[in-house]
Subunit: 364 residues, 2 copies
């Protein structure tokens, strides 16, 4: 079609003014909703907490205040680890946490958060939206009267804070550590004593000696908690949480009772929040890391290849053993596992290969 | 706060039913808008084209059909490379393309699409939203009466299709290639003859011998165009387009005339579309790559390190030279350049380090 036809067409559809108003104002009947979101994070905590706040604000703006959401920090209305039950029971409409914390509810849970040596943030989103993951997650949470959404990601985390050097896997033996999820199960097989703690309890536990080592998130969050004040060595890479998904779950009956436009607004806000949080971490991590290293003299250390190799092998066993305990977990594992193989193959030609080439040739 | 207080609180804010309805239905006066989106892609083309369609659908659903958008493929209303001018002039309200194509309009343009040896998709989003990039892009496009949004990303692309083996940079000499953006400028310095072509013209140009080599996107898109039917070698990594941003620009006066809720809906839909498209490519690329290699016997080849090193050095010169031609381009370059340094440093501890460790230990 040539330019003349284009202009003719444009005139026909009343685009000539460039405004495109159609007909008279419509009248739109609406119902207002005021919801509560309970979260597993300290109120306004960078990344996870601010991500929950932003999500609530965007939903309010998009809905012209028809759906407003009040966000509460961990412990304000409900303790961090009680969020799942509270939202499942409809005591709050929304909960912002991570499926990492609900392993005891169902063995399929960790696959919707992060798995040791599993998928990166970008690969997780691809599996969830274009690899069948989201449908499996929906099916799993329906059993709890919940509708799950991926609403953030921290990106690759760090390997944790230690006051001893890790030379071999023997060095994990007897170590009292805060290390949640399957990563903790892997270290437990190596003799570590794993302690379950919400984020805000990590610093006091390290100070009191209740634990000797801990992982939280990455530089951006760990600096905010002051973990460098009680531990000397900061290990990488974060083999155990390569792309931790933050979830925002909704009590299913209240979600289903919403009009279709508010459901669409929520769905898109969740998806926007996913990569927005990831962008915040990606931008914030290196600045925080520089502060930790240059100002606070933290020592960065990479796990030796032999340690990573052994952790990889045990991770395989732990993940497969977990999946074998339940048919639904096995189904999720098979889907995740097949996608992971493709993601690794493509990464080695795509993103991983590019990053290596850039590091190799980096001069500007 | 304990559970008893939580329940008390919940009762106070009328959450006991779990529904949270507030007051009587409100009446909401609205205006309807019917917009046109012109795109630089074949109608419904996987990834870039379907991403534009999805974006339009999500906006319509979220706005309860108050803002509907009709999407046109390249050439249906306006040729691919005329989109910028058409939307700037208000002949269409929206345009879906890539700033890569508008280098002749302003030397700062490529930084908002992709730069050789520049940022990955995830890093680009971090720079745009949390590193100052978006404000600079807004300022640049305001001069053209446009409001820009990042609305998609292809992820790391492939290094192109060739019928000769690339052993040294001498092998680019005299080669007639479709290679847009700054990557093309880099190869031109090595003696390649760069030809500007929209995507749909690549296959016929390779068939007729008008060009001898070409890059398009990656396996998911290149398979769809059938480029394997006319070229034998498929090179990696995509040094020239490590995370190409798809833009959706809006004629600024019509965007500003929208009510705040529709502006918020558009903004969030764009952000959701960014990573949704990336997820589609991430999921689709490896399956397509396997088809290319196993069914169509395409030969995958990695550029030799010496070639990548030379391309990296020339890329540095080309990018810096471009920035030096204009104060705004220089300002954008400085911001991008500083962010890139941080991104590389963090990547080497974070994502790149993790992917390498996973490849090293990958057994399950």
């Amino acid at each position: 079609m040539n330019r003349r036809m284009f202009l003719t067409n444009a005139s026909r559809s009343a685009m000539v003014t460039g405004v495109g108003l159609l007909g008279a104002p419509a009248v739109h009947a609406t119902t207002r909703y005021a919801w509560t979101m309970v979260t597993a994070w300290p109120k306004d905590f960078p990344g996870v907490g601010t991500g929950a706040n932003n999500l609530a604000q965007h939903i309010a703006r998009m809905s012209d205040q028809r759906l407003t959401i009040t966000v509460y920090g961990a412990g304000e209305l409900v303790p961090a680890f009680d969020i799942f039950d509270a939202v499942a029971a409809g005591k709050a409409e929304m909960g912002h946490a991570s499926a990492l914390y609900w392993k005891a509810k169902h063995p399929a849970m960790p696959f919707f958060a992060t798995v040791p040596f599993g998928l990166t943030a970008q690969e997780m989103e691809a599996w969830l939206r274009y690899g069948g993951g989201e449908a499996l997650w929906d099916a799993l949470y329906t059993g709890f009267n919940l509708k799950p959404f991926a609403a953030g990601n921290t990106g690759v985390q760090m390997g944790g804070w230690f006051n001893k050097v890790i030379n071999t896997v023997e060095d994990f033996k007897g170590l009292k550590m805060r290390f949640p999820g399957l990563g903790g199960d892997v270290l437990a097989r190596l003799g570590a004593q794993i302690v379950d703690l919400p984020g805000s309890d990590i610093l006091p536990a390290l100070q009191s000696g209740a634990i000797e080592a801990a992982e939280w998130v990455g530089p951006y969050n760990d600096l905010a908690f002051g973990l460098h004040t009680v531990a000397q060595y900061y290990y990488w890479p974060g083999w155990h949480e390569p792309g931790a998904v933050l979830e925002c779950m909704i009590h299913k009956p209240v979600y289903e009772a919403l009009p279709a436009d508010l459901q669409a607004i929520i769905t898109q806000a969740m998806q926007a929040a996913y990569s927005d949080m990831l962008a915040e971490y990606t931008a914030g991590n290196n600045t925080a890391l520089m502060t930790l290293v240059q100002t606070h003299k933290v020592q960065l250390r990479r796990f030796p290849n032999a340690v990573l190799g052994r952790l990889g092998k045990i991770s395989q066993e732990v993940v497969a053993a977990l999946a074998a305990t339940d048919p639904m977990a096995q189904k999720v594992y098979q889907s995740f596992h097949a996608f992971r193989k493709h993601a690794i193959e493509w990464g080695q030609i795509g993103e991983e290969a590019y990053s290596l080439a850039r590091s190799l040739t980096s001069t500007f």
